[in-house]
């Protein structure tokens, strides 16, 4: 079977037995699940029982890349790490940029599956078809940058791409992530802890096989047209995102009162302009860099050369750092957010999971729920950036009582200490939330609640809500123009369902979602055109969208079997009950009754049962998933539990 676009091989490594196996990529997996996240989600559902211990040997860790990886398709080369999550106890994945994904593809693989657990620390060396398990005792304990350097030296090749974990993953810290290319992270859902639990420190790859293209001239034309469309329709976005990167959001959301501040208590931060992308660019960013094949060069290579953090170097300084360590923690010191981000990259800690956990700790401290004794003497007051830096280090090493508490992540930490601290844990399904205020952007609010991996901002990322015109909403997407009102509920359910399906496609191609930001035309035209030119198979928008829907239903089905239902699709009470107390949007909340309406509309748009959120048999069979419908039927329905607990619907 000769593949174009896809590499055509699944690589399976059993860390318990040391057995390495290669399987041919099945054609129906390729055409029904596209790649990357699509492959991962399908394989996770089929191969991992939802009741396994996420940090035990029966969990599997899937690394998937898409057919676009390693090609001129813009902003391609992203990859997904998927497993059962130790933070949500359900579906989990992290999505990552950098250059590692492209290298894995060039080595000749679409998916890498890690099974079991190594007895001693190891790292994997993938050199095209030669795959070797190597000792990693000498790497254990090193931070991720040191690890990358040592591996490259040992292999005699500075061009090798390295993915792996830092001390946080080794220590099974739940906020740990998997890093690659020094500064890129597969952040969410505790994937770093899963990797650490398998005793695997790093995966080094060198790929020389390349990717075959079915219709090369057409691919070049499609790519050119796509980039032109992006620059024409999403002009503001292209210009400002390439220049400032995601820190562009600090002014954007700051101004709209949508900037999470003081642990999500407020949406307005007085000093938000000090954290702006423009200040960052002027003061610390020395050069722009890109992920594989990307046209935005959104990433800033930064050097802090003044103040107490002078000497800090890093790259990829994101809004989740500048405002995550900034406004979210009441901190207006931009240099400290750069220092914090560099530390997280070295330790292998996810920015969002970390900042939400610190935000929880700080609010608890301010409210007197955590005392100085509980924090081992650390003064966790708003804006105390020296404490923030020290807290990150303690989290990575589980140092002291406080470090151990932080390492659980805010959700489990709050459960552990109780005392009303749960109120300040801003998580959904146990997972921390990405940085957009639900009370100020209702489609985003809904998207957080419904995300299969819990509280994720990129699962839906419904930019169309606030960037497209009401005319585009209505004519191109068939959704009521009322959906353009960020303070309204109508149309949001449909918009989020559609956005989620499309974003799933983006995660399967895999391409950076920022390419598709808010141009409905690009969403509809680009994926099928690029897949057709790349793979030689005829794709249409309808087929592609259906793949997205199918993949999403797999993730949902895994969650259903793991015990999740409608009750897990809600936001923390803060967003329904606590109005902003400062800023131009003082008094705003996202009323719960309106949220319920959005959620109902969402389930209806998805063809899922409104009471339980379970995908209906009709929907699953229409997606060709009868076997899943049969399995879901066996799951205890939460709305029937009271009536004697009989299974079945």
């Amino acid at each position: 079977m000769e593949y174009y676009g896809w590499a055509g091989t699944i690589l399976r490594v059993n860390l318990t037995t040391g057995k390495i196996m290669k399987q041919m990529l099945p054609k129906d997996l390729a055409v029904n699940f596209i790649g990357g996240r699509g492959f991962n989600s399908k394989l996770l559902y089929d191969e991992v029982a939802p009741d396994v211990d996420p940090l035990g040997p029966d969990n599997k860790l899937f690394f998937g890349v898409g057919p676009c990886a390693g090609t001129i398709v813009p902003s391609s080369g992203r990859w997904n790490a998927t497993a059962k999550s130790p933070t949500t106890g359900a579906y989990g994945d992290g999505n990552c940029g950098g250059h590692w994904g492209a290298e894995l593809k060039w080595a000749g693989y679409d998916v890498l599956i890690l099974e079991g657990k190594a007895e001693n620390p190891i790292y994997l060396w993938i050199d095209d078809e030669d795959v070797e398990i190597k000792k990693a005792e000498h790497l254990w304990g090193l931070d991720f940058w040191e690890t990358s350097d040592v591996v490259k030296k040992e292999l005699g090749n500075p061009e090798v791409e390295v993915a792996g974990i830092g001390p946080a993953g080794e220590n099974l810290v739940l906020t740990a992530c998997i890093m690659c290319s020094y500064t890129r992270a597969a952040g969410k859902c505790g994937m770093g802890a899963v990797m650490g639990s398998k005793n695997i420190k790093a995966i080094a790859v060198r790929g020389t096989k390349g990717v075959r293209v079915a219709k090369p001239d057409e691919l070049v034309k499609v790519v050119e047209r796509g980039v032109e469309t992006l620059k024409s329709v999403d002009r503001w976005w292209f210009e400002n995102f390439s220049k400032y990167g995601t820190p562009v959001f600090s002014m954007m959301y700051g101004h709209l009162g949508a900037l999470p501040s003081y642990n999500w208590r407020e949406g307005w931060f007085e000093e938000y302009k000090q954290l702006s992308g423009e200040v960052l660019l002027r003061k610390y960013v020395k050069k722009k860099r890109s992920c594989s094949g990307c046209i935005f060069h959104c990433s800033g290579f930064y050097i802090v050369d003044e103040g107490i953090y002078a000497g800090t170097i890093g790259e990829g300084i994101e809004y989740e750092a500048t405002c995550g360590f900034g406004s979210k923690l009441g901190n207006a010191d931009l240099a400290s957010t750069c220092a914090a981000k560099t530390l997280c990259d070295k330790y292998g800690i996810d920015l969002i999971n970390c900042t939400d956990t610190l935000g929880w700790a700080m609010e608890c401290y301010e409210e007197g729920i955590l005392t100085k004794e509980d924090t081992d003497g650390l003064e966790m007051s708003w804006g105390n950036h020296e404490s923030i830096i020290e807290a990150i280090r303690r989290m990575a090493y589980k140092e002291g009582k406080f470090g151990e508490l932080l390492a659980l992540g805010s959700h489990k930490a709050a459960k552990k200490i109780g005392k009303g601290s749960e109120r300040y844990s801003i998580t959904i399904k146990g997972q921390q939330m990405g940085l957009v205020e639900p009370r100020a952007m209702w489609a985003w609010g809904l998207g957080f609640g419904t995300s299969t991996k819990g509280g994720h901002h990129m699962t839906a990322e419904p930019n169309v809500e606030t960037f497209a015109t009401p005319e585009e909403m209505e004519r191109l997407l068939g959704i009521t123009p009322k959906a353009c009102d960020r303070f309204g509920w109508e149309g949001k359910g449909q918009l989020v369902a559609w956005s989620e399906n499309m974003r799933t496609v983006h995660d399967s191609l895999e391409m950076c979602k920022y390419f598709f930001r808010s141009s409905p035309r690009l969403y509809m035209e680009f994926p099928p055109n690029v897949l057709t030119a790349l793979t030689g198979i005829q794709w249409t928008y309808e087929i592609v969208l259906k793949c997205g829907e199918r993949i999403y239903n797999f993730e949902k089905a895994f969650n259903v079997k793991a015990g999740l239902s409608r009750k897990d699709d809600y936001l923390p009470e803060r967003f329904y009950k606590e109005p902003y107390t400062v800023g131009p949007y003082k008094g705003w909340v996202l009323p719960k009754d309106k949220y319920e309406k959005m959620l109902d509309e969402y389930y209806e748009a998805r063809g899922w049962d409104k009471k339980t959120s379970f995908p209906t048999r009709e929907k699953l069979e229409r997606l060709g998933l009868k076997y899943i419908a049969d399995e879901i039927e066996k799951v205890n329905r939460p709305d029937k539990v009271e009536k004697g607990g009989m299974a079945g619907g």
Partner: protein, 106 residues
């Protein structure tokens, strides 16, 4: 369906904007009748009308109107609303005034 003057209809077709010029654009053009403005200034006037809730929707509408020659960029102004502290200033063109008339007649 709104009947717009022929030259505009041709431009709309050329730019792939059929069916996409409507109330948002009418409000935007109307706002520019009282003088040249930046997108954020237009937004301040029309926000809350026809579900418009962010400046970016206005930026999109102005981009589309510029493509069909109904508005024109005439300068730049420092407003510090966005990360890029400087915004473009737009004015309505004669063609834009004609478009506004036909949109208003609806």
């Amino acid at each position: 369906m709104v009947k717009v003057p022929a030259p505009i209809e041709e431009l709309i077709k050329q730019e792939g904007l059929e069916g996409l010029i409507g109330e948002t654009h009418r409000l935007t053009l109307e706002s520019l009748m009282s003088g040249k403005k930046t997108p954020s200034e237009v937004f301040e006037e029309i926000k809350g009308k026809y579900y418009i809730s962010t400046e970016h929707q206005v930026i999109r509408a102005l981009d589309q109107l510029a493509k069909i020659h109904c508005v024109k960029e005439v300068g730049r102004k420092r407003t510090e609303v966005f990360t890029s502290p400087i915004e473009s200033v737009y004015k309505i063109t004669d063609l834009g005034k004609k478009l506004l008339q036909s949109l208003a007649r609806k």
